[in-house]
Symmetry: D3
Subunit: 238 residues, 6 copies
């Protein structure tokens, strides 16, 4: 039995509030239950140095957590003077996930920086970030298409992410903080709207798992992502 | 005429949403028009090293701005590896303002860390932060009083802040971003619920002003703070 | 009664030693009693990036304190790897104060960097810095006028600063370290040679004050600055 | 056809040179073809702060790359003043992989720090690091068992890692630099000596893959790790 | 012919102004011609961690240069966030030089931190620093002897330093900035009051030298240090 | 009697393994007994900013020590976020030593970066680094001569370094860790193939020495360097 009373393949309530802030070209407050992440997509008319003059664009991401997003207050990374390894790992993952569904050539020589800031954390902040990031990116790109800055849509398909793990012997989807703390085997799957796997990260600290376990988690991830995909489309007004 | 059509002594809509996040002992989303700051108050059972064993507590503040809170995206301070001088100046101001209305002896050997994170900026982020910080602090202290951790209320009175400046020759209160960008003389006043001045900071880059101007701005600040004080009380359920 | 035996409106001995070092275009050792600050003004034929090609100049300031300028040795900021919030706050204040009396257009595309390094501290290091900075700047600009690099004087008027505070119930000017440590209400005023207020910063940690108090401090500041103005002119050979 | 002429399921030559340096409790120079990593295991009689007094030990890892390990010289991380996100991601992975096969309670209150320094890079530096790290750890633990500092072996089983990816349409094992640069789908598998999966990380930047692809890569990983396991045992003198 | 008109074995004017600042236990403004360094010696009742409980003291030094001590303004190390390699090399040299003449056991469990801050630079800042540091240390130790905190003098003898080099083919002592810039072979000698060599650092970038050259420079160093020793004694009131 | 049983003027076994890694233009694993340093020379077609457009090249060096090169593990400088003063002092010394034997004009507008990474330390890491650096540089330059990128050899002569010190009253050459730890007077000499002194650094912490001592150490250094010179030539295939 899950602490929240959810069925093993049941997601927490997934909500997207598009346009949560006004300055960004695209923005979205995404909630997976009590996990809430504010995502903004900022379009910049420049590309990173390694892409200058190559006729293509870039999509990158940054991730942060407000100090009291968590049960006990964490130190502010800006005050400590550096981002943790965990933060960097997550922002690299978000960036790769988005680039997997964007045609960077069609984007032209511009960069979209996606900022994911966790307002409140209850497990799954990276999967909520990826899922919300697609909505913010979609809105920002739609603006470029409306104004004619872009004539072809560079977004090939949707991308979403969800966590899965073995909680007290049962494979479950979308772990909340309590489940995440006690599960020894868990993973994050990033899937595309057309059914492909973009990223799969499985970790078994202490415990381990086998092919069968891996496939069972992946099946749960497909169920979870399908629900997220529907929410994304609705939020993006499609 | 103000760009927003407001009267010179008219505040933007001031709103406090107490309990915006659930982990912090006190929290509040404060809005001064389009300026929105998420404030959390975290109670910790320890004091900074310089106060250990002195039988008193401490209240301190940290301030941050989400990268895309502003019109164009700013660099993330955690990624740059240091907080700007502006950030440090503001968080020192917030901390001093709160301590001016708290009896640190009555607080006992504990620390309250107030985090002010700007979700959206449109001028006046430091004054909104101070005003919202009092609400978050009030809620957190009320919890300590309810549980009996504190028996006497360490908060002496309210504290609020507002900006004032000379916009196109006219003294106005609560400047928004457009006004702030063109005003050469402006200041921030921090006032207490019993009418005293805690902080006054006036700057005239390019222009200058005299005693008369200073007093006129202060009078506007009193009007503005009175409105904030009423909102704070309501938000704190008093 | 003040610990130093001074009258409430009596400054400490104010001295300016122009040309204290030889490499800088302008330099000055300023003393407010035992507070001694070495100020240099360096003229550079470049402007900060945000001003390039805009046909105007810039004046900026940096501030530092030698580790043993104080009663007990402080850590060297270069060794700690970062400047404190206090340091950054002060150097921003010095820069704004100087720019308030300089016509940046007339300065042309050059930058003057003013370094204020505290040799010995006994209260009022920031006000002594601002007051001495004007002398160093004046000397540096005079050289540019003499060599014909400048044909019009970009300095509109003098600028000076002094602290004021309530010491044991009495408003006093130019607080020394002992007074500063026990005064709960104090402030710094930056005034121009033609009588205008450039900056006013008042802080009441613990205590508070009202309009009447604010004006009384401002009146003391005028008296103090008048004495400083006379010293500046003499030091600059005017 | 692979650039090296290898069969799809053929590893590069895997070599372990135990005892490559003399000060460390355990050391090993591991080579996967031209990729060479110097691994040392240092035993320290203390644990990190979060484990003090908990009656258990810790195993952690650090990773670095000599500036000219690569085709073109990279900047030295010590000179840049920070470790890249990639470095941190890798060292976290190595640490988790080792801890998955170590009984931390049996280790007692001591820490083993494993340093993996890449002498020469040709793809697969993280998998070579993990594989060599087990050998260095094994040697260090054997010393503790010999001296009686430990009476029970805390290492439960072996751990090894190998990369797999789709190179020009064909699933291949142990990618070298040329293959790694052009493969869009690839992953790293960390497996234990008793056949379980500890970590699986798959990334498809640009391309994507499905369940079938995932399982095919995993099968290759098992073949590769079996060869590594044999080499590890021989190197550790088992 | 030397640019300054000095004879090859002629020092610049060497001056020591003891007690230049009042807070430090010992202080001294040392001048070697236009090179001027403010030295303070701070006595602290604690030792660095590696010496705790060992019944001995420590003497260490820090070195800094005011940004405009030089012909063109250098960046402030505190603003850059790190000390240069040159700075660290010099402060390590000063510390070693002082420790060579101090009996750390007799100093007891206390630390003397000597700060050398260059007010104006014209070549030889490190040798002036060492020479002035001895005076500041002497004054600080004398105070400890006077108050009875120390009963035995821990300073065994004097220590002084001077630079020597080959300028246009001629060995000269105490190089000023012009000589230093064009001399390819030069060195710094640290000598004790009883005639021993504590440190000798010779560098020949581009050029080189032989035993004969080395000894000739050392002979010049002896002449120069003798003059410095006399000045030190007088400044310390011996 | 030396702990190793060596005669006072006897070097440890000196070995050079050229071509130890394959990516660098020049590389060499140098051993002075148990001290082992991996040196690579990287040729870059750019010069540092201060040399741009001046028609000459540059040779610079970086130095590092693997965390467990030493008896007890040291902290990784990349993880600490800064290089120690010792590291910077050594890499500056290596760079100067190499530049003393290179005609930078003949090198053309290119830079050679020499990385010296200590694999195992047993005293004398800086002297081994310099000695091995010449071999790596020689190999790299030879490649430029072979390909015709250079037509004239910019290397004027060899350069090598060795430590000397007074161990239990006897002057000895090439101190190992045990000798180095107890010797109070020691130094490093950098000599050229044509007999000149490039650098001499002597330190006497606690003890001191005189001219006679200095010359005796220098004589030992000549003996040691002659042996190194022979090894370098053989390693470079001359």
């Amino acid at each position: 039995m899950r602490p929240s009373g959810r069925a093993p393949d049941q997601m927490r309530e997934v909500r997207f509030e598009p346009g949560f802030t006004r300055h960004a070209e695209g923005s979205c407050l995404v909630s997976f239950g009590d996990t809430r992440v504010l995502v903004t997509a900022s379009v910049e008319d420049k590309v990173p140095p390694f892409l200058r003059g190559k006729g293509q664009g870039w999509v990158t991401a940054e991730y942060g957590m407000l100090p009291r997003a968590t049960h006990t207050r964490g130190n502010r990374e800006a005050a400590k003077g550096k981002q943790s390894g965990r933060t960097q790992e997550i922002q690299r993952l978000i960036g790769r996930s988005l680039r997997a569904v964007v045609d960077l050539k069609k984007l032209g020589e511009r960069q979209v920086v996606v900022d994911c800031d966790v307002i409140q954390a209850d497990g799954g902040t990276r999967t909520a970030s990826i899922s919300g990031a697609w909505v913010a990116l979609r809105i920002a790109i739609d603006k470029l298409l409306e104004t004619g800055a872009l004539t072809e849509d560079p977004i090939r398909t949707q991308v979403a992410a969800v966590s899965c793990g073995i909680y007290e012997g049962t494979p479950v989807v979308d772990l909340d903080y309590i489940e995440d703390s006690s599960a020894h085997s868990d993973g994050n799957f990033v899937l595309t709207g057309d059914g492909a796997i973009v990223e799969a990260q499985l970790t078994a600290e202490g415990a381990t798992f086998d092919e069968e376990g891996l496939l069972r988690l992946l099946r749960l991830a497909r169920v979870g992502c399908d629900e997220i995909f529907r929410g994304q489309l609705k939020a993006a007004g499609k």
